[in-house]
Structure formats: C-alpha cells, structure tokens
C-alpha cells in the first residue's frame, strides 16, 4: 500500500490522521483494559443462554495485564508521531501538506480569505511531532517510574512481613493507576495537537485547557508523596486563575470583533489591521498574554513552575518543561503573529522584550543557587523561555520578513531539540528518584564512577542546555542570536562605529543579554558535570536497573548529538524553516 494515499484526500479522515489516532487510542484505553468474559443472561424464563458482552467480568489475561495501558499509550503516540512525520515527508503532490477545516467542518485547500478553525500546515505538523515525541519519551520512561507488576508475580509475593505487604500494596496501587496515567497522557497529547492546529481562539483555548487540566493531574500523580499533591494543587490554582484570565481576555476580543477566528474575512487579524485595536482589544490581548505567559512560565507568572517540576515525577516534569511550554509558545505565536503582526502592529514588542530580559535573567540567577537539581532544571527552563521570548520580541520589532522567519526557525528548532536534552536531563534525575534520591545536588556525586553510561549522557545534556558546540543546544542558540543580530545590524554597514551602535535596534541588546545569560548559566550546568565526575560518593555502584528509563535516556542522547552535528541537524533545520514560513504565510 502506498502510504501516501493515507493523506491523499483533502478530507477530515486523512488530514487529521494523527489526531484520529490519538482519539482511537483514548477509546481503546477506555475499552480494552476492561474487556472480560462478562455475559448477561437472556431474559427468557427457564433458559440460561448467556450472551457475552465482554465489558467487565473476569478480565482476560491479555487485557488485564497491567502493562497493557502503557503499551497502548506508547504505540498510539508513536503512530501519531509517525503519521505526522510521514504527512510532511511525502511529496506535497501526493499527500496534503496544507489544508484547512472551516467552522462547518468543510475541508478545503487553504485560502487566506476563508474563515477556518483548524489548519494543517508544516508548522502545526512540526508542533504535533514535538508534542508526541516528548510524550512518547515520557511514557516510555514512566514504565519504570510507575512500574506495572504482572498479577502472577503479585500473587506470589504474598507475605506476612508488614513491610513486604506494604510494598505489595504499593505495587497493586501502581497497577490500578496504569490506565489513569496513560489516559491522561493521551489527553494531553490530544489537547496539545488541537492547540497546534487551531487558528481560532476558541478551539485553541479548549485544546489548551484540555492539555492543562490533564497535566495538573499528572503533576500530582504520585499522591503518596507529600510534595506531589501539594505541587499539583498549587500548579492547578495558579494555572486555573491564569486560564480564567485568558478566557476573560478571549471573551473581550469576542465582544470587540464578534468572531474568534484569527485569519480570514471577519477574523481578528483583519480587524486589527484595518481598524486598529481599541482599549477592550488591548486589555483582551494583555489578559491572553497572561494566560500564555503562565504556560511558558514567564516571569512573574512562573512561580508555581519550580514547585510543580520538583513535585512531579521526572518524566512528567520533562513534559512540562518541553511539550507544555512549546504549547504555550504556539499559542503565543499564533496570537501575537497571527492577530497583531499582520499590519506591523507591534505594540507588545517592548512588553515581551522586557519580560524576556527579566525572565532569562531571573531564571538563570535563581538556578545558580538551587540545591535541588529539579528546581535547577526548572529555573533553567524558565531561562530558556526567556531566550525564546527574546526571539519573539525581535520578530515583533522587525515585522514580517526574512529575518523574522529566520528567528522563528530558530525558535521552532529550539523547541524541537529541547525535547531531547531537557527531557533527558529530567530522566537522569528520575533514575536517581528510582532509588529515592535525586532532590539534592549531592546525589549526583560520583555518578560517573557509579554508572558512566548515565553520567556521560547527563554531561551531554548539560552541555547542550548550556549551548556548547557542537551540540544541538548550541545550534539553536546560534541561529537565534545570529538571526537577531543579522536582522538588526543588516543596514548599518558603512557607518562609523558610533553611528552603527546608535542606530542599532534595542533588540540587538537582547541578543547581547542572551550571551551574558548563557555565560551565567554555564556555571550551574557545569557544576552538575563537576560533581558527577570529580566528587566521591559512598553509595554502592549499583544503580536502579530501570531499563526503560535507560532506553529513553539513550534516545535523548542520540537525539541531542545527532540533531546537533549529525545529518539530522540539516533535516530538522529545513523542517523548522518550512514551519516558520508556514507560520507567517
């Protein structure tokens, strides 16, 4: 079968294939683990004809296997990822690279005047791939963080010893929760994909909240720990308030325009360009920025983030710092670039620039003193949000054009490669969590001696986060900074030095600030490396086995290396630049 036919028709089934697969997975997740030999007796007197209806009863050994939900989730996410990838890889002549779905459900080739609600283009596909890849890695790793024990082994383990019994109960509990976790992960994936596709603020918000709600639960999923639920609740409170503010902002925009579509006739962008915003629109935009600012954990809406990351288990924290954050940026870029930038409206540029400057500095400085590696990573992720915000501010200052596309490419590239090394770093922490540690930097002492196969990837992740060449983190930062600088200094050649500096856009200094912050950040990234390689530890060299986490770490390592200076760096950069072009079209 030609895979291309899967995507050939401009119809709902083919162009939304990744989302359909997710929905299919969710359905399967609800049904399959419940399949059993349940029957019901035909209500005919004096007969005992029993007709099996399968839902409930004593479950089959296959469907009752506690490892099944993770497998379903992983398979679903993988399939979704692959379909999204294939739809981009296959020649545009065969598959549908771009299509739009209007409010009434009609599927069209995209016309800019159309008033549509979902849009499939390289940008949304790229984002879907980022989301599903991050979640896939998290699901794989979580198989060891929430280990499923087969029922047979559980039955064998009955013992009188109360400690062993407690452990058995914990395993039983883990088994019970397998479906919950996997289901929530798939929900997150569906919500995020919706955000990636949305070109209508309403559907965008629905997707955002679908993903957010599920992720609040994921944060507090390890409810037997003390900090998990607390962090989840805090994250939920602040997040729901931010969400409410955002929804309020959206409603104001609706009052202003009467339509929540971003593009097309009667859309927000058209009105913004033709009439200019009034006060209500401005307040609406500001409130939406607050909601999305919370998602990307920009200062001052970031406060719950370190708590949430520290409370959540490693894989979940990894998802929060990559996929969830990328979702916030998708929303931010859709609104800012889609709605306001069309006619060079860049009222928000100064604001975003200031937030970017504060965010990156704050994140890095706070990370300097953090003793908890997960909080350190959380602050580092705040700092990375600052870098990306600086890129967005630069785009705002430059207006649409080749330079903006270059910076957008860098942003997308950065979001993509973050999936490898950021999650990877959280997974290494997670491996330490498996032995009940990982919340102190001293727990990294001597890791290189205990297990070099973990310490070396961790070093690669740290160097990639710091942006050391030739790793992928360097490439994204280089693209960002060189994009900003080349766009701002492009027209000053021939001038004297003082003229050149005088005529520089203020955005230029954001690039300089990125440099300075990178320098600061190297301190705390390298500190991890130093303690891993040069400190002694009295722990036994045996680490937890945790094969799935190790596999996930290896995947991340390969990604961090291959996307940095391997062949795939080019491929990814081209895909990101396609996506950036689609964002501005």
């Amino acid at each position: 079968m030609n895979l291309g036919t899967l995507f050939s028709g401009p119809d709902m089934a083919s162009i939304l294939m990744p989302e359909w697969i997710l929905i299919l997975g969710i359905t399967a997740m609800i049904i399959v683990p419940n399949l059993g030999n349940a029957t019901f007796r035909l209500p005919i007197p004096n007969t005992s004809i029993r007709i099996p209806y399968l839902l409930g009863g004593k479950r089959f050994s296959f469907t009752g296997d506690p490892r099944l939900p993770s497998a379903i989730a992983a398979f679903t996410l993988f399939a979704s990822f692959i379909t999204a990838l294939l739809s981009q890889m296959i020649d545009s002549g065969v598959g549908v690279a771009e299509a739009c779905i209007s409010m009434t459900g009609a599927v069209n080739e995209c016309a800019i005047s159309d008033n549509y609600i979902l849009r499939v283009d390289p940008f949304s596909r790229m984002m879907e791939m980022i989301f599903t890849a991050a979640l896939l890695i998290a699901v794989i790793a979580n198989m060891d963080r929430l280990p499923a024990t087969s029922h047979k082994r559980l039955q064998l383990e009955v013992q009188e010893d109360p400690v062993a019994e407690n452990r058995r109960l914990a395993k039983l509990l883990n088994n019970r929760r397998q479906v919950d976790f996997s289901l929530l992960v798939l929900m997150v994936a569906l919500g995020m994909s919706t955000v990636a596709l949305s070109t209508n603020l309403f559907s965008l918000f629905v997707g955002l909240e679908l993903a957010s709600m599920a992720s609040y639960v994921l944060v507090s999923f390890h409810k037997e720990t003390k900090i998990g639920p607390e962090a989840g609740v805090k994250y939920f409170i602040v997040g729901s308030v931010a969400g409410a503010v955002g929804l309020y902002g959206i409603s104001m925009l609706y009052i202003w325009n009467g339509d929540l579509s971003i593009y097309g006739t009667g859309g927000l962008a058209e009105k913004w360009a033709s009439e200019g915003p009034n006060g209500m629109a401005i307040i609406g935009l500001a409130m939406m920025l607050v909601a999305f600012g919370f998602k990307v954990s920009a200062v001052p809406f970031h406060f719950a983030a370190p708590d949430a990351y520290a409370g959540a288990s490693g894989p979940v924290a990894g998802v929060l710092s990559t996929a969830s954050k990328a979702m916030g940026f998708v929303a931010l870029m859709r609104v800012l670039f889609g709605v306001t930038l069309g006619d060079g409206g860049n009222e928000w540029t100064i604001l975003i620039g200031a937030v970017a400057a504060i965010t990156m500095t704050w994140g890095n400085i706070a990370a300097l003193g953090s003793k908890n590696p997960k909080r350190m990573l959380a602050y580092s992720s705040i700092a990375h949000a600052g870098y990306i915000l600086a890129g967005i501010a630069a785009i705002g200052a430059l207006g649409p054009g080749a330079g903006s596309e270059l910076i957008a490419t860098a942003i997308i590239f950065h979001l993509a490669v973050l999936v490898t090394f950021k999650i990877g770093a959280f997974l290494v922490v997670s491996l330490l969590e498996c032995e009940g540690r990982g919340h102190e930097i001293s727990h990294f002492h001597g890791l290189a001696r205990r297990d070099p196969m973990i310490a070396i990837p961790m070093m690669i992740f740290m160097l990639a986060l710091a942006g050391v060449p030739p790793l992928s983190g360097f490439l994204s930062k280089l693209m960002m900074v060189s994009g900003i600088i080349s766009s701002t200094v492009g027209d000053v050649s021939g001038a004297t030095l003082s003229d050149a500096f005088g005529s520089l856009s203020w955005v230029f200094w954001l690039a300089i600030l990125i440099f300075i912050n990178s320098a600061i950040s190297i301190f705390y990234y390298l500190r991890i490396c130093v303690v891993m390689f040069f400190e002694e530890t009295d722990r036994s060299p045996r680490m937890s086995r945790a094969p799935m986490i190790r596999i996930a770490i290896m995947l991340c390592t390969m990604g961090a290396v291959v996307l940095g200076f391997g062949v795939l760096a080019d491929v990814l950069a081209i895909a990101a630049s396609d996506a950036a072009a689609a964002l501005f079209s």
């Binding site: 503010v245 307040i283 920025l289 100064i350 604001l351 300097l368 600061i520």
Partner: protein, 763 residues
C-alpha cells in the same frame, strides 16, 4: 625472563601473513597508489585496538605471551605498511613516473573565502596523497625502520619487568607515532604535513616520558615537547605567511607554480621559509633548539632509535627538502640564497658543536644522540648548499648536492637506527647481567650502577658478537669509511659545500671548514664509543655475565648490518643520488651494462665518480675528509681507548681485526685533558642549557609571576565578586518563591496589572 627463552618464531606467522596484503590488494584490482592511504590508515586503526584491548586484557596469558602485549599486532600492522611501501616503490621504479598529486582522499573542511572584490570562493581542506622520489625515500626509511624497531622493541620491552603490563601503551603510541610519520611524508599539503607533524610531537612526548614515574624522564619529555613547540610556533607562522601568499597550502598549488603566475617574488618568500626552517630546526634538534635531544635519551631505547634515527628528526629534513622546488624556481634566482646560506650555517655550527660534545660523553646513548645531531647537521649543510646552488642557477650541482643530502639521510637513518638498537642491546644485557651478578632483589645497589655508562663496559666484543659487529658497521657508516654506507653521501655533502665556495658563495667558508673538521671528529668519537664498549679489558665485573639472548633483538641487527654494509655501495653505484633529484634520468643504467663488460673498471669508475665531481680542488677536499675521518680520528681513538681483550676471550673474525688494530697502536693517557676546562664545558654541553635556563628565569618566570598575580587577584577577584553577587542575588530571588499559592497569585495579579499598564501606556 627465563635464562634461555625458547625460540618464538611461531609468533611471527601472523606478521608474515600480513606481507601478502599487497598481493591481495593487487588481485582485487587496486594499484599501489590507490592503496597508499592505507599506509596511514592501518596504523591509525591499530592504535586504538592495541590500547583498548591492552587496557582490558593486560596480564592475561594470551595477550602477554601470544601477542607480546600488543607487539605482534603492531608488528603485523607495520608489516602491512612496509609491504605497501615496497609495492609503491616497485611501481614507481617500473614506471619511472612522477606520481605527484593524486587528488583528495577525503575532504575535511569546506568553507567560503571572501575575496577583496566581495565574491565568495569555496575552499576545501582535503587530505590527499603526494608521492615522489623524496617522499618515497623518507617513507621507505620510516616504514622499514619502524618495522625493525618494533621487532626489536618486542624483545627489548617485554622482557623488562618494569614494563610489566604497560607495554600496550608503548606499542599503541609507537604505532600512532609511525602513523604520524607516514602521514607527514605522504601528505599533499603543508596543512596535513603540519597536523601529522604535531601528532608526532605529541607521541614523542608520550614515548620519551614513558617512564613517567622517573622525574628525569618526565622532565625530558616536557623539555622535548616545549622545545619543539617553540619551533612549531614559528612553523605555524610560516605556514600562515605561505597561505597568505598562495591562498592555499597544497603542494600542487605551491610547487606547481611557485610564482603563482608571476605575482610572487622571491623576496616575499624569504621570511616564510625562514619561519618554516625554524620549525625544522626544532624538530631535527639543530642549534639553537637542540637542547631536547640528549635529554630525550631518557626514553626506552627503541624510542631513541625510532625518534632519533628513523622518523621524527628526519621530519625537519623532509620539510626543508620539500621546499627545494621553490629554491630552484628560475625566476627567484638569487633572491633566496641568503636563506640557503642560513640553513648551511646552522648545519655547520651544529655539526661541529655536537661532535665536540660527543668527545666527552660517557653515556653510550648520549654519544649516539650527539652524533645524530651532528649527522643531521651534515644533511642540513648539504641541503643548504643544494638550495644555494639551485637558487644561484647551478642546477647540475644543486641536484647532486640535494641527492647527496637525501642519500645521507637514508644512510644515516639506517646506521643510526642500528646503532641505537645495538646500544639498546648492550644496555639490556648489561642490565640483566647486573641483576644476575648482584641478585634481582638488590635494589639499593641498583641505583649506583648505570648500565648505559661506557666506563662500566669494555671487552664486550667477545660476549656480544652480533652486537659488536653491528655497531662496528654502523659506526663505519657514520664515520664514512670508504665503501661503507655513509661514505658516498658524506663526501658528496662536504664536496658540494666547498663547491658553493668555489661558485662564489664566500659566506659558506665557515660552515664548510666546520663540516670538514667534523668529518675527522666523527671518526674520533664514534671509534671512541666502539673501543670503550667492546675493546680492551672489562672495566667492571658485570661484563662477565653478559651474553646475547633473544632473537627479537638479534634479527633486526643482522638485517640492518647487511643493509648498512652494502646498501651504500649498491645505491651509489645505482646513481641513487641522481635518481632522487631526477627520477627519469637514465644514468643509473650505465653501471649495470658496464659492469657486465668490464666489471673492475666499472666499479673503479663508479667509486671515483659517485661522490666526487670532476674538479681538482674538490678532489683534494674529498680526500682530506676521507683521510681525517677514516684515518686520523679512529687512530687517536684507538690510542686513547683501545686495547686487547682479556686473556682467553676471542672476538668473531669480523671484529677481531679491529681489536688487534686498537691494541697495536699504543696508548695515550688523556686523563689530564679530561680534567681541563674545555672538557668541563663540554660535559655541561657548552652551557647552552644553562644559558637558556638563566634567560628564562630572568624573563619568562617574572613575567609569568606577574600574570599569575593579575590572574589570581584581579581576574579571579572580579569573577569571585560576580559569583558571590550572583549567589546572593540568587538567594534573594528564590526567597520570593515562598511556596504559598496565594503569594503566587498575588504576583500573577500584579504582573497582569503591569502587563495591561504597559500595553495600555504604549498605545
């Protein structure tokens, strides 16, 4: 090691099997030039194999005894490179072809150049193979000697208990070093030449410091590395200048048209060549950067043979020889003759100085080290003369001088490698004999006995027949005894140095006199070494227990003895000298045809014409040199240090005549002279090392102290202050993260207000 180790020839089977490698390549349809890159690639691939497997399995029986801790692997790899090299040479001889540039084997870096007219041109730094008669000569010397020295090292290194379980490191570094030399010789651009040059520098550091736990070895390694580094910096500057002129470092570009279409004049090239020459001075241990070489004798003896005979010291010569086409470019006539004179001067001074110091050295390896410096200096003088003649337009003589210099490189490398290995054999056996005589566990006495000191030897000729014969032949080659090895090449060099004087280069007079004098001095110090070691009565009781043992050590010595004894004659008759500079020349064929018709006259003719030009003045110079080196020098040495063996000891016939000679010329006591001021100065190496140390302690050390102070107080202070400030700020900032959701909400609310205010205010 057991007293009588069983023969281990069976271990050589895999090595010999490797010799079939070229045949297999040939059957697969490759020609030798396509396989040339394997000469570099095979050792490069073997290096990590030995290192990793050795680290993993050291101490295991199969690794230790079957593979000799990696030695067999290294030897097999070097067998491949040697057979490939010979294949290449056969092909070269058959086709009489100038292979030249063979195109890139792989592209390394591609980048854009911005030209002055703001256009982009693409440049590629690629690695390619360049084969001509010069590179083939040096390549053969390196490959052949690396192979034999590796063979020798298996016997030398693996039987010494100090080296237990770390020989894999030695062999791995050995192979990497060989790779560096092969790569440098085959590289087709100065860039890759430089890269391999530096690989050799690194390996020489590692190998000289192989006994890193000995402070003197560690210091020697550091000294060698830093001293050559001084030269390398200049070399790099020279390469930059060259690149600036040609916009390329490829041989094809530079030697294809040294004028670059008439845009480059000879004067432009003076400084680049001088800079590069300083690099060669460092690498080949010439004055004033020679100080590292004697100290480098701290390394194991195979390393001395490898670095100071076969490979690294030849690298500098090779680079100078590479630049010969620039000197012979017609349009540069006269512009570069000063540079050539500089080369000759450095050569002359070093030759004389090193020979002088060698007079008083008592350490057998140090004598050889100084002799190496001196002989390399000969070659530099020859190259300088060749460059001068070429630059002044005397192409015929220039080619002869150039050929003589390269010929001397060949002869010297062969002889000196053998001498080093022989000295290694002596040291090895002295060491074992000492252990045997005084008991293995006698650690306290161990330190007082120096197995390298010739004052402990004497009368070894009967104990070590193979070694003494080898050393005799090697010394004769170095001295330049007629018909043996270095005779032809040395006479050629001396003759051509004087020829420069006759052709109007008055400046050469000083180095020319020096090399002439050195010829006689060489005769003295080499004979002195031999007589002190092998002739006379034993000077210590250890000598009683000396005997030659393992075939690993003997075989290379025998091989090289034969090569040294006959190759000089054969190659000289085969007009090697002319072939080198002009491979297409047909002169080589005369001898063979004449030889069959009237052999005696043919040999006589060749003897006369192989090394001497048809000029009476030069003939006088040549005969003077012969007389000095073959007659006077050895005679004095024999009087001072020679003597009959002890009663009942009998040397083999090959060496016994020399013993008899030395015993019959009488004896002169030189005790007084050895106490004199000159001798003290020579023992202290003419105070050059001390002068360097004084200069460094007066200039560099205070400067670095100041820098250290600035770094510690100013730079670190600022950094520390920044760090403290950041940590403080970090603490303050993180206090805002209170952990209370209400506080977070308050912050978010404030933030919202600020966001609205900013957006509102901007509009």
């Amino acid at each position: 090691m057991g007293e009588h180790s069983k023969p281990e020839w069976n271990l050589l089977v895999p090595v010999l099997a490797m010799v079939s490698f070229p045949f297999i390549r040939h059957l697969l349809g490759y020609n030798p030039i396509d396989s040339a890159f394997l000469i570099v690639a095979v050792p490069l691939a073997i290096f990590p194999v030995i290192l990793i497997i050795g680290q993993q399995y050291k101490g295991e029986d199969w690794w230790k005894h079957q593979l000799k801790e990696g030695g067999i692997v290294a030897l097999a790899g070097l067998a491949i490179t040697l057979s490939l090299t010979i294949w290449l040479i056969i092909e070269f001889l058959v086709h009489h072809a100038h292979f030249g540039d063979q195109g890139a084997v792989f592209d390394w870096i591609t980048f854009d150049n911005i030209a002055s007219d703001n256009t982009l041109t693409e440049s590629v730094l690629s690695f390619g193979i360049w084969v001509d008669s010069i590179s083939l000569t040096v390549l053969f010397v390196a490959a052949f000697l690396c192979f034999l020295i590796c063979w020798f090292a298996i016997g030398y290194m693996t039987t010494d208990p100090i080296n237990e379980d770390r020989n894999h490191r030695f062999f791995a570094e050995f192979v990497l070093f060989s790779m560096g030399m092969f790569g440098m010789v085959l590289a087709d651009s100065f860039l890759w030449l430089f890269i391999f040059w530096e690989i050799m520098g690194l390996c020489s550091y590692l190998l000289i410091g192989f006994y890193w736990e000995k402070p003197s070895a560690a210091a020697a390694a550091k000294k060698a590395f830093l001293t050559t580094r001084v030269g390398d910096v200049f070399l790099m500057v020279g390469l930059f200048m060259l690149y600036d002129l040609y916009h390329s470092l490829d041989f094809a570009v530079i030697f294809g048209d040294p004028t670059l279409g008439g845009t480059i004049h000879g004067e432009d090239l003076q400084w680049p060549i001088i800079m590069m020459f300083i690099g060669c001075v460092g690498k080949s241990a010439q004055f004033p950067l020679h100080v590292w070489l004697p100290d480098a004798m701290e390394g194991p003896t195979p390393v001395s043979a490898l670095i100071h005979a076969a490979t690294m010291v030849n690298a500098g010569l090779y680079l100078v020889a590479r630049m010969f086409p620039i000197f012979s470019e017609a349009s540069f006539e006269g512009a570069l003759s000063d540079v050539a004179m500089l080369i000759a001067w450095i050569g002359g001074i070093t030759a004389f100085m090193a020979a002088l110091i060698a007079f008083v050295a008592n350490d057998i390896k140090r004598v050889l080290a100084y002799s190496t410096m001196s002989q390399l200096a000969y070659i530099f003088t020859g190259l300088g003369a060749a460059c001068w003649l070429a630059n002044e337009g005397y192409q015929k003589y220039a080619l002869f001088a150039f050929g003589a210099a390269m010929f001397h490189l060949f002869n010297h490398a062969m002889a000196k490698a053998m001498l080093f290995m022989s000295s290694g054999s002596v040291i090895h056996e002295m060491h074992h004999a000492h252990d045997h005589a005084h008991g293995d566990g006698d650690e306290g006495d161990h330190h007082h006995f120096d197995p390298q000191d010739m004052r402990n030897m004497g009368g070894l000729a009967s104990k070590m027949p193979v070694t003494s014969t080898a050393m005799m032949l090697g010394s004769m080659s170095i001295i330049g005894i007629p018909l043996i090895g270095g005779f032809w090449s040395k006479e050629g060099i001396v003759g051509q140095a004087w020829n420069v004087y006759l052709k109007g280069g008055e400046m050469i007079l000083f180095p020319a006199i020096l090399v002439l004098a050195t010829a006689g001095m060489t005769g003295f110090y080499m004979s002195r070494m031999w007589f002190m070691t092998f002739a006379g009565k034993p000077k210590s009781d250890v000598v009683e227990y000396v005997h030659e043992e393992t075939q690993w050590i003997k075989t290379p010595l025998v091989t090289l003895s034969i090569v040294t004894a006959f190759s000089g004659f054969l190659l000289a008759c085969g007009h090697f000298v002319y072939w080198l500079s002009d491979p297409a020349s047909e002169k080589g064929s005369h001898f063979m045809t004449d030889f069959f018709k009237h052999p005696f006259e043919a040999i006589l003719y060749e003897l006369e014409h192989a090394f001497l030009p048809e000029d009476n003045t030069l003939k006088i110079v040549g005969w003077t040199a012969i007389l000095l080196s073959a007659g006077l020098g050895p005679f004095i040495a024999a009087r001072m240090h020679g003597g009959h063996l002890s009663e009942g000891e009998r040397a083999v016939p090959l060496t016994s005549w020399l013993i008899r000679y030395s015993g019959s010329v009488g004896h002169t006591d030189v005790g007084e002279l050895a106490e004199g001021g000159l001798a003290t100065a020579l023992h202290n190496r003419l105070y050059i090392d001390d002068a360097y140390e004084w200069i460094i302690s007066k200039t560099l050390i205070p400067l670095s102290a100041i820098s250290a102070w600035i770094d510690k107080n100013l730079v670190d202070g600022v950094i520390k202050r920044i760090e403290c400030g950041s940590q403080w700020a970090s603490t303050q900032i993180r206090q805002l993260t209170t952990g209370k959701a209400s506080d977070y909400l308050l912050m978010a609310a404030l933030g919202t207000l600020v966001v609205i205010a900013i957006l509102w205010g901007v509009i």
